[in-house]
Symmetry: C2
């Protein structure tokens, strides 16, 4: 276990041999248990609490989710202080910490919202204000709901009609058959990912199960592995090759992890979060071969599949590449995840998504579907939005032109912002930033002067956390320190979204430049 932790948490300690306290590791303000378990019952009964830091599920104590971590909590406090009239060197907080497009000013896709309005209030179907394809869509969804109401439960894996539309979407995307029975609608991708990860909790040949995850990674993975008590084996993405997956590094991580754990699955995020790379087809082929060789279940996090900006990059789904590799590779166990929160839709608040399950043993899939049934169903309105994403307006239909215009505008603007942010960062001293080929983030590497590192240590913070806190307090810009995602020891990064609208983004980058110059000067 300690081996594994060394791999995965290496990025969080100042030196491999360093003894770091947890507060330093994460910059967290959350309380930690003290004392030992034997004394707990006595303490608890004195305080009349059965749930204390000592008796709390230790996996919950361990769990961290930097995207909404202490820095973001502080950002919310600052917003409240500003509301109350506090004097700060800035007027508002810029939340570049989370891929929350609408919050940053992106406008919703009209077609989705009109369909949502109609299924919510079917009286609107009688009014003349909506295009006919909006009304038809709403009617078809209502017809698939119990009692023709979105207030009814659906099947736990979602409305059959919508699952069929998702399968058709995937067939159009990949040029390969998709079975609608293998599509499971979810309340956002996170739900599906967690439900699948949980299936793996078991000992195999006397060893606990572990999962390979990228470093840097999206912290839902580290958080869920901690929650489920699964081992985490990090493989480093290759920063020098635009965050590609290096098969030698995968082999190294697998070998290391296998010393203590049964390594049974690999997570790949493509396009990358927080790293913004788009994997080449040949890289995906190699990963599939690696997974097949070691009998790994592949988690393909493909929620940014619409977000590809680089002219030389293209999104290939793991499913497509696997099918086209043929036997024996086309029989690997694969779950692919999609969300309506990203892409051009950015409908984070609606909570909708799906997973496609490939080559899962029928009995296992039945148990998965049974397990999710206790949670009843994903939200019908999220499912409605999923339907609008899986089956978009087609040329010739009344809503097509507006839909296409809105979609193109969002993606074009994101493309410009991706370039703007990378160019600016790369023009800054001590910054180096890979091309943002896709997704919604830049993950620049920053050099921090030794005096800054010492100051961070004195402040009981990791250097990148120290930097990000300074940035927040002095400029109102909220980013997430690289240690929240993992990074090679001795390197420092942060993640920023590319989502502020162009004018605000320019303003943010100007402020950032100023801050970084001052910071470097202060600590040089």
């Amino acid at each position: 276990m300690s081996q594994i932790k060394l791999i995965s948490r290496a990025s969080r300690v100042l030196s491999v041999s360093g003894v770091a306290v947890r507060a330093e590791l994460s910059g967290t303000v959350l309380p930690q248990p003290q004392g030992n378990h034997t004394s707990v019952r006595t303490m608890a009964s004195a305080q009349k609490k059965t749930l204390t830091l000592e008796t709390l599920n230790p996996n919950i104590t361990k769990l961290e989710y930097a995207v909404r971590g202490p820095l973001v909590i502080r950002a919310a406090e600052i917003e409240k202080e500003l509301e109350k009239g506090a004097q700060k060197p800035f007027k508002r907080v810029i939340k570049a910490n989370i891929g929350d497009a609408h919050a940053m000013g992106q406008q919703p896709i009209t077609f989705i919202r009109q369909v949502l309005a109609c299924v919510s209030d079917p009286d609107l179907l009688e009014s003349g204000q909506y295009p006919s394809d909006v009304k038809e869509r709403a009617k078809s969804i209502l017809a698939a709901c119990g009692g023709q109401s979105v207030g009814s439960y659906t099947m736990s894996h979602g409305i059959e009609l919508i699952r069929r539309h998702v399968a058709e979407y995937i067939e159009r995307r990949d040029g390969h058959k998709a079975n609608w029975q293998d599509i499971c609608l979810t309340g956002g991708a996170s739900n599906g990912i967690k439900n699948c990860l949980q299936l793996l909790c078991n000992k195999v040949d006397g060893k606990d199960t572990a999962v390979l995850i990228p470093i840097p990674q999206y912290p839902l993975y580290s958080a869920s592995l901690a929650e489920y008590g699964l081992g985490q084996v990090g493989y480093y993405l290759d920063e020098d090759h635009n965050w590609a997956l290096d098969i030698n590094e995968l082999e190294r991580a697998f070998l290391d992890g296998s010393k203590t754990h049964a390594v049974r699955a690999i997570v790949v995020i493509n396009p990358g979060n927080p790293t913004g790379q788009v994997l080449t087809r040949s890289n995906i082929e190699d990963i599939i071969k690696f997974a097949q060789k070691h009998g790994l279940f592949v988690f393909a996090d493909e929620v940014y599949q619409d977000n590809v900006y680089d002219k030389d990059s293209k999104f290939f789904s793991f499913k497509k590449v696997m099918r086209e590799l043929g036997a024996p590779y086309d029989s690997i166990e694969l779950a692919s995840f999609m969300s309506i929160s990203k892409g051009y839709m950015g409908e984070c608040g609606l909570r909708g998504g799906w997973m496609e399950l490939c080559n899962i043993q029928a009995g296992v899939q039945a148990h998965l579907y049974k397990a999710i049934s206790a949670m009843l169903c994903p939200t019908t309105l999220g499912q409605t939005a999923v339907d609008c994403v899986a089956r978009t307006p087609m040329p010739g239909e009344p809503s097509y032109e507006l839909w296409n215009k809105e979609k193109t505008a969002v993606l074009e603007s994101l493309k410009q912002r991706a370039k703007m942010i990378v160019d600016t960062f790369n023009s800054m001293e001590g910054f180096s930033c890979n091309v943002v080929q896709g997704a919604m983030y830049a993950f620049p590497r920053i050099e921090l002067p030794p005096r800054a590192i010492a100051a961070a240590r004195a402040d009981n913070k990791l250097p990148d956390v120290f930097y990000a806190f300074k940035l927040l307090e002095e400029t109102g810009i909220c980013v997430v320190p690289g240690s929240g995602f993992g990074q090679r020891p001795g390197t420092f990064h942060f993640r920023t979204t590319i989502l502020p609208q162009p004018k605000q983004l320019q303003e943010m980058l100007d402020i950032f430049k100023d801050f970084h110059q001052k910071f470097t000067k202060e600590y040089s």
Copy 2:
């Protein structure tokens, strides 16, 4: 552990000493692992599957959720057969298995749906078709959303404005202060219940944690305890006293469970599911005293708080009773759960609810809020509906009259149906059914002739499962066998909702009567 299982699973075996195979226990068609773990890796690699029935998370294999179990899966198959023109002795399936009001013909509350339409498509705010209070409500919710869009993420515990409205709702209900910071919005009550249960996973004094749950219970509890590997200690509800909680029985269960486990929490469902009782204030007082005495965390499942039909019954929240008992009882750890799926709203598909946390250690609550942050947020549209439920139209506001009319009509009709169903069941030979004082279910006890029990055994089914399958195949009526909820050994029950509309309910009861007569005749 076997002690505990004996208590909780007693109802599932034919005799306490009987060796029962799992298929018989649950009537499930789900595949079970074969062989032992040592052989697994070989099998898995031969089949190139890393996830097999043998390597699957054993807690997921164990988990059962009867409300959507094998009987319900069969009901869905029958519906498909009917669609394809199969000849059956009935024309349609009546789904009395799940509290899904809209699916059974209940109409949505107009105010909720109009607000949902407006926040989905804010262009509707400019149109003249909605009352001013609908538009104001929608505007206030949009103003609380990032970028004024329901497409934005909210805080993980929900929009502050709505949490404040929930606190005000609770204050009006109870006459006691509620802190909005202790309100956590959820995607339905189930989410909140699971998140709180999960906190308890830990050993205390070397013993695994167990939770007291009622028998009969709502199977989300048994399913979640299985999923989290928590011990389940059943306490029997007193069928002879309209399913009250008998403190002696609670003490017995606590003592029994404590032999092997650290019993740290108790679940109480009031009004009762599947049992339909409404606890008296004095019963609640006794339960709180019992919880305080043993230092138990109380899970108060109060999702049916609006569903009280009996003229002599009244809903008292655990929070209110606890506060009014005063010290030392007012410091017990308590979580109360509420949902928009039940009550007069019946908005199951929207997935909205809340929990109120009382007397939880601040650090523990911080860890809970952190843990849910990885799941980002409950759906904004579910939160919107929660707001409409917490802050209903008030007298004098444009939407009040219609809202009040709709609400009253739903609750009045449910009251009549509750009576109709109980009266009919009690007029049937071999049936006895407690008064449905509240909630949405009747849980009648049925006598099954010895020959029926023998036939069930021959068919590898529990007797009540056998009965329910016969009922489904011969009449199209889908109920849930009592064994899915738990019942005293040797007794047989089923749960039916009271939700079919009056005419359909009368028809269902007539068919039921016929069926039962034939069944009794066949097996006498």
